[in-house]
Subunit: 166 residues, 2 copies
């Protein structure tokens, strides 16, 4: 069974798939008479133009046993999907390029500190993989009419393992 | 100087102004092969229909000294604005009915546990009031062309004070 190398999650490495949501490198602005620091527009929400609307959701995910066997991925062809962790526990992300599924484009990432991700519309991804402890996320995605879920089964399963440092 | 009574934040009490975002009473659904619990559509994001788009933002707010003097409110006439706390520290919300500002419609609320709020489009509100410790929030609102900020000064300042239990 093939093994997928786990990379550190950085904006550059993740750019083919969407955005890393993080404050490192973001520019804060003082607001509310100087009592608050605001970081705006951390990700591009895309709900398409066919009756989509933005949905605010909450997800509580259980930890996954490692190594994990990856045998299927999903995608949302009508909109983006952002995962914003409420804490700073690491989690893993497995993605593949949008369009006709190509197993050669598969990549795995692990977060460090408080990092979230925003999958661009149509990006193939595995369900979030929490490590060690469960985690809670705010999820921002598309709701509305239309089929916004597709699944693909891998020809050959893959193993991913979190070794502590990517 | 008049004093504003601080009420407990509940869905019913807050309904003239928007939605309370909380899991109490929300219906979770098992997803991701049973490894995660998902609560969908916790608030209605409204970005209008004139070139608005959803913006994902982050806010780090300092604590405010009590009692606090309220002398101005703001509103966003083009879209809703949701505040989702990353923790469960209480914070205060001061709001007034949308439309021409009417000081008689002013209400103050304090959160309990992990509660967020979504201001409906055009609802007058004070900047978030954090208590004791600062808090961090994910803010979901509207970005795009158009003036989405109006401010009003109160004829007479008001005092709000958090007494520990609303």
């Amino acid at each position: 069974m093939n093994k997928l190398i786990v990379e550190a999650l950085t904006k550059d490495a993740f750019s083919p798939f969407g955005e890393v949501i993080e404050l490192d490198g973001a520019r804060g602005m003082l607001v509310n008479a100087g009592t608050a620091l605001s970081f705006r527009d951390l990700a591009r929400v895309d709900v398409g133009d066919e009756g989509g609307r933005t949905s605010i959701n909450f997800l509580r995910a259980s930890p996954q046993a490692m190594p994990l066997r990856i045998s299927a991925l999903e995608c949302h062809p009508l909109g983006s999907q952002a995962f914003l962790p409420l804490g700073d526990l690491p989690f893993m992300i497995v993605v593949a390029a949008p369009g006709p599924f190509d197993q050669k484009t598969l990549r795995a990432f692990v977060t460090r500190g408080r990092q979230g991700v925003n999958y661009r519309k149509g990006v193939w991804h595995h369900a979030l993989i929490c490590l060690g402890a469960g985690s809670e996320f705010i999820v921002i995605d598309r709701a509305g009419e239309g089929l916004n879920f597709t699944e693909v089964t891998l020809d050959q399963s893959l193993l991913v393992e979190h070794s502590g440092t990517p």
